[in-house]
């Protein structure tokens, strides 16, 4: 009996270990398949037309610049909304709100994170964009700005939860030290707590931006889907098209193995690399902050 027990133990341990390692396998597999289907682009479309500002696949114009600028404009707008609102809410929850308020706010913000993006896109079409069209006197309400507003909302929960964690992990002694020196709570927040949580707050912003770049359904539904090169701030109020929306909108209609198909995978590869870079940097910031905290506390 003991023998069979040790065999069972051995097999279970191996299975658990394999599951742990599977995360690495999946990232590798995703990257491999993006490369496999995306890299042929480089031999089928030459670099100069790829970096062109005309995206019109039916006539074999595969310039991805308008898609990249489209993503940038929408994401930038989203960040301008998500950063102040996200950090402000995090400061409110962690430093100002009474306990009962915190218990209500945290699940509510989590709830926003759980709202399907397609529902937000749906309301964007029916409610937000008609309102903006009238309110801002635009020819159409389906603009980059509409996308930014909704994407900002989608990024807020990420920013709030990471920033709130960072503020929460600032040792209480820091605050008490500042109060003992006669600083008000407000001065303490600005001059002690926020600076001490700087790296965590920065991580929050990065992860929020990462979330915004990758968002698909909402932007596809509300940004008007016009692959026009964004050149100025004015583009914020005209229709654009992002990288994610392009993949989502066109992949269904292309023939497998065609150039168009390869280019869409190529765009996916670019998105993958962007999120890889954002997350590696964000996590290294977290690691460094953690190490410093350990050094201070020990």
């Amino acid at each position: 009996m003991e023998k069979s027990l040790s065999w069972r133990e051995f097999i279970i341990t191996r299975l658990i270990q394999a599951s742990g390692y599977s995360a690495i396998l999946f990232v590798a597999l995703i990257f491999f398949f993006l490369l496999r289907e995306g890299l042929p682009t480089l031999s089928e479309v030459d670099a100069s037309s790829l970096l062109n500002f005309r995206w019109y696949p039916i006539e074999s114009y595969f310039g991805i610049l308008p898609l990249i600028t489209g993503s940038l404009v929408v994401t930038l707008g989203a960040a301008l909304i998500a950063v102040p609102f996200g950090i402000g809410t995090a400061v409110y929850i962690s430093e100002i709100a009474p306990r009962w308020m915190r218990e209500i706010l945290k699940p509510l913000v989590e709830l926003l994170g759980g709202l399907p993006s397609v529902v937000l896109g749906f309301l964007g079409i029916l409610v937000l964009s008609p309102f903006l069209r009238v309110f801002l006197d635009l020819p159409t309400g389906l603009t980059a700005f509409t996308g930014s507003l909704l994407l900002g909302g989608i990024a807020v929960p990420t920013v709030v939860s990471v920033a709130e964690d960072a503020l929460d992990s600032v040792p209480r002694a820091y605050r008490e030290g500042a109060w003992a020196l006669g600083a008000t709570k407000w001065q303490t927040i600005w001059r002690v707590t926020l600076p001490a949580a700087k790296s965590g707050v920065l991580t929050a912003v990065m992860l929020g931006v990462g979330r915004a770049i990758g968002e698909t359904m909402t932007v596809m539904m509300v940004t008007g889907n016009a692959p026009v090169l964004a050149t100025s701030l004015g583009s914020l109020f005209s229709p654009v098209r992002t990288m994610t929306a392009t993949i989502a909108a066109e992949m269904g209609e292309v023939a497998n193995g065609s150039t168009h198909y390869h280019v869409l995978f190529f765009i996916g590869m670019v998105l993958f690399i962007i999120s890889l870079v954002v997350n590696v940097i964000a996590s290294s910031v977290v690691f460094r902050a953690k190490k410093r905290a350990e050094r201070i506390l020990s």
């Binding site: 599951s19 995360a23 398949f33 289907e37 709100a97 968002e215």
Partner: protein, 288 residues
């Protein structure tokens, strides 16, 4: 500097600052509540037994949304079948077995990256690997597998947190009584971490249930006049259906659109509320 620091009006500054921050928080939260209430109100009138149990007809402009509801159920269950055991096992590895070395750090980095990959890129990956390379076709199976990998990071990180919260002394005592590592995990640690794990699983599946982009090219069907017969069939799904009827079908009755949004929202919110309730009840009952 000192005078500025201690100046009289600093309390006025504080009052002003607090008001601004509070306003910011209010403006963040109000739209969330507003969105939910708005959809509940606008969609409420569309809900009827026919709507929930009927098939769509007249080019989806009439009838019910049963195939989309059932499809989302299938996809959520299919996702659970793959991601729950794998995610919990990976969490057990990280919390109970892994040593602090390079490989473990690489695993953690991989999990962080999985969490950050755009959902539409998961869709591309699923198309490349499951639909085409493994020839599962556009099917519930391919879509569930794609959604599973996407949900893994949520399940792993919340489950690991729950496992780590179980006091170390339980492990030491159990081992000292002659238990193997796995006996300790299966008889004590998992049981104690269960509410936390369950919360993580539900939150992960909630995300899968609401996602559209990963299933666009892996398993979602525009319109099916019947329910799927097997895991190799494509299926309708609530989020994709909402996308279709709000953008692809002209002259779509607004009632049906709001009704569909409401059903999807209730589906997802129910999971969210269940997860929150499990978590807070477990916290209240916990004895360690």
């Amino acid at each position: 500097m000192m005078t500025k620091f201690l100046s009289r009006n600093r309390h006025t500054v504080q009052r002003l600052g607090f008001s601004v921050i509070t306003l910011v928080a209010v403006f963040t939260v109000l739209p969330i509540i507003g969105t939910v209430i708005y959809i509940l109100v606008k969609g409420g009138s569309a809900i009827s037994w026919e709507f929930l149990s009927g098939f769509p007809h007249d080019g989806m402009r009439a009838g019910g949304i049963l195939p989309a509801i059932i499809g989302t159920l299938y996809l959520t269950l299919g996702t659970a079948v793959f991601s729950v055991p794998l995610g919990i096992a990976a969490a057990i590895y990280l919390s109970e077995y892994a040593r602090d070395n390079q490989v473990t750090r690489l695993i953690r980095l991989a999990i962080i990256n999985l969490a950050g990959i755009p959902s539409v890129v998961y869709g591309l990956f699923g198309l490349g690997l499951f639909v085409l390379f493994l020839q599962f076709g556009t099917s519930i199976l391919a879509a569930s597998l794609t959604l599973s990998i996407m949900t893994l990071p949520v399940i792993i990180s919340t489950s690991e947190e729950a496992l780590r919260a179980v006091p170390q002394s339980f492990r030491t005592v159990s081992i000292s009584l002659g238990a193997t590592r796995w006996q300790t995990i299966s008889r004590i640690i998992l049981k104690e971490a269960l509410p936390g794990i369950l919360t993580g699983v539900i939150l992960g599946l909630e995300r899968a249930a609401g996602e559209t982009a990963p299933i666009l090219f892996t398993g979602a069907a525009f319109f099916l006049p019947r329910l799927p017969h097997s895991a190799f069939d494509a299926t309708m799904a609530l989020p994709y259906h909402l996308f279709v009827i709000s953008t692809q079908v002209p002259e779509m009755p607004i009632q049906i659109q709001y009704g569909t949004a409401l059903v999807l929202l209730v589906f997802v919110l129910t999971m969210n509320v269940i997860a929150t309730v499990i978590r807070s009840r477990a916290r209240a009952r916990r004895q360690w």
